[in-house]
């Protein structure tokens, strides 16, 4: 079936089966910053923002996202403060999980502009980084929060 939605502020029409996930449909449409790792909503590598909320796109059927406004990491501007903070403190290694972390952090900061360390940790608990870049990821979120204020 054909599904119409907005991705990164552009109208996109995707062809997807009714039983396909949003993740598979997005990747086929070229948005490959969302990635399949666990397939059960645990790891956050498939995170996209749906109407500004982070969701695991491996758990959402593509047709359910019809009409939604989706943000993927490809849509971030070069001056995005969260992305820049991740660059500044080298908050990534292999980079596979990075888009999901950045998007989750963006959603956190839009809701809680001045989060405590504990709030940062809890917000990021649904994203896994096997390279173990957590120390610098948390630092990046603190720096991003400060730069937005």
């Amino acid at each position: 079936m054909r599904i119409q939605l907005r991705v990164n502020e552009q109208p996109v029409e995707m062809e997807a089966r009714a039983d396909e996930t949003l993740l598979i449909a997005l990747r086929r449409a070229g948005f490959r910053s969302a990635r399949l790792t666990c397939g059960i909503g645990v790891c956050g590598a498939c995170t996209v923002l749906v109407d500004d909320l982070p969701i695991s796109s491996c758990l959402v059927l593509a047709p359910a996202a019809a009409g939604a406004a989706i943000t993927t990491a490809e849509g971030m501007a070069d001056d995005d403060p969260v992305a820049r903070a991740f660059m500044e403190v080298n908050a990534f290694q292999c980079g596979y999980c990075t888009p999901g972390f950045v998007l989750t952090a963006k959603a956190l900061l839009s809701e809680v502009p001045n989060p405590t360390d504990e709030e940062i940790r809890h917000a990021l608990a649904g994203n896994l980084c096997r390279c173990g870049s957590y120390v610098k990821i948390a630092k990046a979120v603190r720096i991003a929060a400060a730069s937005i204020r």
Binding site: C38, G95, Y134
Partner: protein, 714 residues
């Protein structure tokens, strides 16, 4: 500032590689741990599905493997583990390939299995491989043993006669999953009479060699391109999907890509479960007199690098100590479980766990401070290790002191633990690097170091730029293509920064000599800057880099060595990885929950090349150690993995990571790899802290249940 492609997600990993006309592959796997493969019926497959079974590889070399040729591309007469490859299909879409798997009928006749590395060596255990040919340096002594490493120094086991106090204990370490966020992925196609393989691998030259042997073609008929990997941690070492994907592409006459599912990851390669029996003897004053190490490593259904794991883990379990009498018997044993292979912390994790817990048992018995006991027995510069090697550039005491100080060891040892280790690097090994001036006058580094997120490109650009006297922006790294890069043994064992730093310096000296020759000046008079080359004192002699295009400097570095498999004497490592950790914990004795209050790692880094990268690697390696210590263990029901998903198999999230500190201990002449230095010491330090809290744990991971039981057992 342009955002890094790793942040925007535009980087293309192995799984993202695609070519025109590509088919998608899926693998049919055995549901049985051990069975005869009676019949395969593919008649129900629709047209357009390409299916690879044993009949399609009959013209190829039957078996492959990095150390023992024991693994078929697809099963021939038997399956040896749950998940063993029975057949593979390629279709236009992954879904069609998935659906095709259900249409293949396979008839099995189940056989008894072996699921424990000690029991598998017994006379009643089923024999898992028959008629294998082992290379001359392996010792397949005993049933299902693919290698037995033996080390003897001094009087060996007879040395215990001279000890006042002897402690002994059995320790185990569970199997673990690497869990790279990106699964294994390979694309293969045959074109222009050659095999092209684009793959996520740490070992492009091993893959090329093994493919050449399998397909019976010269190595130069094969081109291996390494794509960036979304993590590996040892999982993408040696042949994984390359052979089956290339064979499928050969049959299809089209490009084929294989990407594993998460469940398949747990059935493809894991960390070795291991069992250690350690015996340590000392004088009543606390001088080590004798030590014996008996180890059984479950290498699973195929040896992979198991023989090397039992060797390196065997000597790592001796520890960085002066011990006059040592005996090690370490066996790599086939079982009917998924293969075990290289894993971050390579064999040292298991050996150090057993060894350093035993060191604390001795400290307890003697009533000596565990730090004091270690320092008293540590190897120093000029001492001989049990392999006969004379130690140099020794930093064990520095690492231990830094770790102990960080947890205020001298203020009291309640709930605190400490650990120290020595770990070898791949030896012997060989590395080449080249620096070329391209048509635009830029310097291109040709290096086979593979990218799995360890920032090797940044470190190597810095090394090359510094050796040439240029700014890092003037140096780029060329594609990782076996057609273009000089030979390098592989990107493993934290060897790349050490080996490449020397090879790149050598290549830079060669390039400088060639440029000087072009300028007709002595190399010592050559001055390079980002615009070009000149001569000191004669400003008229100058050439732009574009005028030097095509010049190439070659460099190499080779380390000799290796250990005798019967005596353990020789050169284990061209230099030693050295690290220590200290932990302070609290243990809830009702629930068994361990909370880390303080954790510090101190790792010998030599000269740090890329500080952010060095920090990231050590932070990541510390967190890996926390996972191994408290969370991670594959649970088997005989041959079946029962927790093969990321809900039941937990890797550390940010909530599992306490605040921790670390030192990158600098000094010496060289740069050292430090991607896995903290992994082995962190579980041992935490385990010793948990023991100091009254729970004498013997088995990793220290799950809450085991911690509670360890209290009861005391």
């Amino acid at each position: 500032m342009t955002l890094d492609a790793r942040i925007t997600g535009r980087i293309e990993y192995a799984q993202d590689q695609a070519v025109e006309g590509m088919l998608h592959a899926r693998i049919l796997r055995s549901p049985h741990a051990h069975a005869k493969l009676v019949a395969i019926n593919t008649a129900a497959l629709p047209a357009g599905i390409v299916c690879l079974t044993r009949d399609d590889v009959a013209d190829l070399e039957p078996l492959y493997g990095p150390m023992v040729k024991d693994q078929p591309i697809v099963a021939r007469d038997r399956v040896r583990h749950v998940g063993d490859v029975v057949a593979a299909v390629a279709a236009r879409t992954p879904r069609e390939a998935d659906e095709a798997l259900d249409l293949i009928e396979v008839e099995y006749a189940e056989l008894p299995g072996a699921f424990d590395p000690v029991e598998a060596t017994g006379d009643s255990a089923p024999v898992i491989h028959e008629g294998l040919e082992f290379p001359p340096d392996l010792r397949p002594d005993g049933r299902n043993v693919c290698h037995r490493f033996r080390l003897r120094s001094g009087l060996g086991r007879d040395g215990f006669a001279g000890a006042d106090v002897v402690v002994e204990e059995t320790f185990t370490v569970a199997g673990a999953a690497h869990v790279p966020m990106e699964p294994h992925a390979t694309l293969a196609y045959w074109a222009d009479g050659r095999l092209h393989v684009i793959t996520g691998t740490q070992t492009p030259f091993n893959v090329r060699r093994d493919l050449a042997a399998l397909f019976r073609i010269p190595e130069d008929m094969i081109r291996v391109l390494v794509a960036p990997m979304g993590g590996s941690f040892g999982a993408k070492t040696f042949m994984r999907l390359e052979a089956v994907t290339a064979a499928l592409a050969r049959k299809a006459g089209r490009p084929v890509r294989t990407v594993l599912t998460r469940a398949e990851e747990f059935l493809t390669v894991n960390r070795h479960p291991a069992r250690f029996h350690i015996k340590l003897g000392a004088s009543k004053e606390g001088t080590f007199v004798a030590k014996s190490v008996d180890a059984w490593w479950d290498t699973g259904a195929y040896a992979d690098c198991g023989p090397s794991v039992c060797t390196k883990g065997g000597y790592a379990a001796i520890g960085p100590y002066r011990i006059p009498n040592v005996a090690v018997d370490s066996r790599s044993v086939y079982t009917n479980r998924p293969p075990a292979g290289a894993f971050r912390g390579y064999a040292a994790t298991q050996g150090v766990w057993a060894s350093e817990r035993a060191t604390d048992l001795m400290a307890d018995r003697l009533g000596i401070d565990p730090l004091e006991l270690r320092v008293r027995n540590l190897l120093k510069d000029g001492d001989r290790f049990a392999t006969g090697e004379v130690m140099k550039d020794v930093r064990f005491a520095d690492c231990l002191k830094a770790a102990a100080d960080a947890v205020s060891w001298s203020d009291g040892r309640t709930n605190k633990g400490i650990a120290v280790m020595l770990k070898g690097m791949q030896t012997p090994s060989r590395t080449g690097a080249a620096l070329e001036i391209d048509a635009d006058g830029r310097i291109v580094l040709r290096s086979a170091t593979t990218d799995m997120g360890q920032r090797n490109e940044i470190a190597q650009r810095l090394l090359a730029a510094s050796a040439l006297g240029l700014s890092p922006g003037h140096v780029s790294v060329g594609p990782n293509d076996t057609d273009l890069v000089p030979f390098d043994t592989r990107t493993t064992s934290s060897r790349s920064t050490f080996m490449m730093s020397i090879a790149i310096r050598d290549a830079a000296a060669d390039l400088r000599a060639k440029i000087a020759d072009r300028l007709e000046i002595a190399p010592e008079d050559l001055v390079l800057d980002d615009k070009g080359a000149g001569a000191a004192g004669s400003p008229s002699r100058r050439l732009a880099f574009t005028a030097l295009a095509g010049l190439r400097g070659d460099g190499s570095f080779v380390t000799p060595g290796g250990l005798d498999p019967d005596t353990g004497q020789g050169i284990a490592s061209s230099h030693w990885h050295q690290a220590a950790a200290a932990a302070e914990v609290s243990v809830d004795s009702e629930t068994g929950v361990v909370t880390i209050a303080r954790l510090h790692t101190a790792v010998y880094a030599g000269n740090v090349v890329d500080r952010p990268g060095a920090e990231l690697q050590n932070e990541g390696s510390t967190i890996f150690g926390i996972g191994t210590a408290l969370l991670e263990g594959i649970v088997f029901d005989d041959g079946q993995v029962t927790n093969g998903n990321l809900s039941d198999y937990e890797i550390p999230s940010i909530l599992d990571v306490p605040d921790f500190t670390y030192d990158l201990v600098e000094g010496g002449e060289h740069s050292h790899g430090l991607g896995e230095m903290a992994v082995p010491v962190v579980p041992a330090a935490i385990g010793n802290a948990v023991a100091a809290a009254g729970h004498l744990v013997r088995d990793l991971p220290m799950t809450a249940e085991k911690v509670v039981d360890a209290k009861a057992a005391r």
